[in-house]
């Protein structure tokens, strides 16, 4: 996966909720994890047309406490279903893990970013270096990126894909525990 994305900015404010705002709660209760099912409902609690408007490479910009609430993964899977990036001022602990597990490239700690972009701006984010360029306004910002080991999980396609690769590597290197 390329860790640089360039596309349109979709700005949401503070306190975007996991359940309801990002994804209808019913999918969490059903433990639905199929991206093809979840994608058409992404962010429809705030903007019913959102799934039809976004394109791969577009970037969601969230404010403080993005993806707050009971940490269900479905909303984050919805983001990866569309091939979007994510930039937030802050993100709750459970959703931080879920974003990595769902394979969403994101910057978790971009204080003040909401004031620097607007919906429709063309922005470019390098998730490996933390550099955000707003091409519409001609501005550039540096934020703290995720750790290399976390980016590896995202690049692998999320937790499950990375775990399969890790188990395979353990076998190849014969690192499995010997029988008792």
């Amino acid at each position: 996966m390329n860790l640089t994305m360039r596309g349109r900015c979709w700005k949401f404010g503070d306190n975007v909720g996991i359940d309801g705002d990002m994804m209808p709660l019913e999918f969490a209760l059903k433990r639905e994890t199929n991206p093809a099912v979840l994608g058409p409902y992404l962010m429809t609690g705030i903007d019913p047309d959102f799934p039809k408007k976004v394109k791969p490479g577009d970037i969601i910009v969230g404010g403080k406490r993005f993806a707050q609430g009971n940490p269900h993964i479905q909303g984050l899977i919805g983001i990866s279903a569309h091939g979007l990036g994510l930039v937030v001022e802050s993100i709750q602990r459970g959703s931080y893990r879920n974003a990595i597990n769902a394979g969403v490239p994101f910057l978790p700690n971009c204080q003040g970013v909401s004031a620097q972009v607007e919906t429709g701006d063309e922005i470019e984010v390098n998730f490996a270096t933390g550099v955000l360029i707003n091409h519409t306004r001609g501005t550039q910002f540096q934020y703290q990126p995720l750790a290399a080991s976390q980016l590896e999980i995202i690049t692998a396609g999320g937790w499950r894909a990375q775990l399969e690769a890790r188990v395979t590597a353990m076998r190849v290197n014969d690192l499995r525990p010997s029988p008792p």
Binding site: R93, R97, N101, S149, L163, P177, P180
Partner: protein, 420 residues
């Protein structure tokens, strides 16, 4: 720069000096899961082709969420759990009728010591913080820990709580713990380690220490533990022969936030639906009729909670319109409560005593609530629908407030029943 307790534990378990914010793969000293996730992790391991656990001797499994199977499906799951335990050769398996609540009995049995790192499937593993141990919950990634031995964790920042003052008459640590999480900024709490110490800690008993470590999880903390002290040594003296180190943060360690919490609250505190940090003084709710009451869960884990209820209910009968369930957390607690006569008092008062474990709090499999009913209980959470009907209401309070409310049939300030 010095290190916090969290940084010290992660440095040891990660094999190198670490600081707040670092991402590491630390090796846990103990891994725990409960009866409702064993079949799930086994499914993932089977899909991965894993036949042996990385460290089966480090895994502890408790049948605590549904020890008294309430359906053929639940009985079938229990059988699957036993088969999975045999398949992987898991030695520390505490099935129905053995340990009790998995966030409590491993401390009684010497599995938990200061400075340890425990990774668990289930958020309230932070109860182990009562002995200065760092319990960290993960969810689906427990399968990775079981297969590979670890999973990535971020070294948390520390919110240092300094307890001062002393409890007033009829006020309990549960009241303080609920007040505490209502006072702390959620942004500071998110992904934090709560380190609890200060001059007031010495007066807090083992049960109270568990409660203080249990509640911060509800506002997003990653873990919570007390700064271990003489009481920790006294508790562990007869329970383990392993060496014990009273781990402390260095004097120049960096805390994100330092908060003083006064044990001397004005009045008992009640959490109103739907979150445990929506807390008000009991006086604002006095008289609200209840149908259901429950004393138990990892948020009321100790003998002192049962003692409080027994003191209020001795020689009395609970209100005729209330059903009152009492779940001693562990077999050790139940045995002690029997010897001390508390169980007799509660039974005589009309309480239903259930098998040790999570009791009603584990999703209301037993003692479920109907449409429009109101419960006051000592459980961990009060989301709508947690104990049954979506439009039932759950108020969270101390064992004292729950017992007094069961007696009166409405939410009640317990202090008149406790002050001699």
């Amino acid at each position: 720069m010095g290190q916090t307790i969290a940084e010290k534990i992660f440095s040891r378990a990660g094999g190198r000096p670490v600081k707040e914010g670092d991402i590491i793969y630390p090796e846990p000293d103990l891994v725990t899961t409960h009866d409702w996730y064993v079949v799930n992790f086994d499914k993932v391991l089977q899909e991965l082709g894993i036949e042996r656990l990385h460290a089966p001797h480090k895994l502890l499994i408790s049948t605590d969420h549904e020890p008294v199977a309430t359906s053929p499906l639940a009985a079938q799951r229990q059988r699957q759990v036993r088969e999975i335990v045999r398949k992987y050769g898991i030695e520390h398996f505490y099935d129905v009728g053995r340990g009790g609540h998995g966030h409590v009995f491993p401390m009684e049995k010497g599995f938990v010591r200061p400075g340890m790192l425990v990774i668990a499937y289930d958020i309230h593993v932070t109860n182990y913080g009562a002995l200065g141990c760092m319990g960290i919950p993960v969810v689906t990634e427990i399968s990775e820990v079981l297969a590979c031995g670890n999973v990535w964790l971020k070294v948390p920042h520390t919110v240092r709580i300094n307890l001062v003052g002393q409890l007033g008459p009829g006020i309990t640590i549960r009241d303080v713990a609920q007040k505490m999480i209502s006072l702390i900024d959620v942004d500071a709490a998110d992904y934090a380690a709560f380190e609890i110490g200060g001059p007031g800690l010495a007066s807090v008993d083992f049960s109270g220490r568990q409660v203080l470590c249990n509640t911060p999880i509800e506002i997003g903390a990653k873990t919570a533990f007390i700064e271990p002290d003489q009481q920790t040594l006294d508790y562990l003296q007869t329970r383990t022969s392993e060496p014990i180190e009273l781990i402390k943060s260095d004097p120049d360690a960096r805390f994100h936030t330092v908060i003083e919490i006064d044990l001397g609250l004005v009045e008992p505190q009640v959490a109103v639906p739907p979150t445990p940090d929506k807390v008000v003084g009991v006086s604002q709710l006095v008289g609200k009729k209840i149908d259901h009451a429950f004393l138990g869960s990892c948020a009321a884990p100790g003998i002192s909670d049962l003692a409080m209820a027994a003191r209020i209910l001795k020689g009395k009968k609970i209100h005729e319109s209330v059903r009152f369930f009492v779940t001693p957390s562990t077999f050790e607690v139940m045995s002690e409560a029997t010897v001390l006569g508390y169980i007799q008092i509660l039974v005589d008062a009309g309480a239903s005593i259930t098998a040790p474990g999570c009791g009603v709090c584990a999703g209301g499999k037993i003692g479920t609530m109907a449409d429009g009913e109101v419960s006051i209980n000592t459980g961990t959470r009060n989301d709508f629908g947690r104990l049954g009907a979506m439009n039932s209401e759950i108020y969270l309070a101390s064992a004292a407030t729950v017992a007094a409310s069961a007696l009166v049939g409405a939410i009640t300030d317990p202090r008149p029943y406790l002050i001699d």
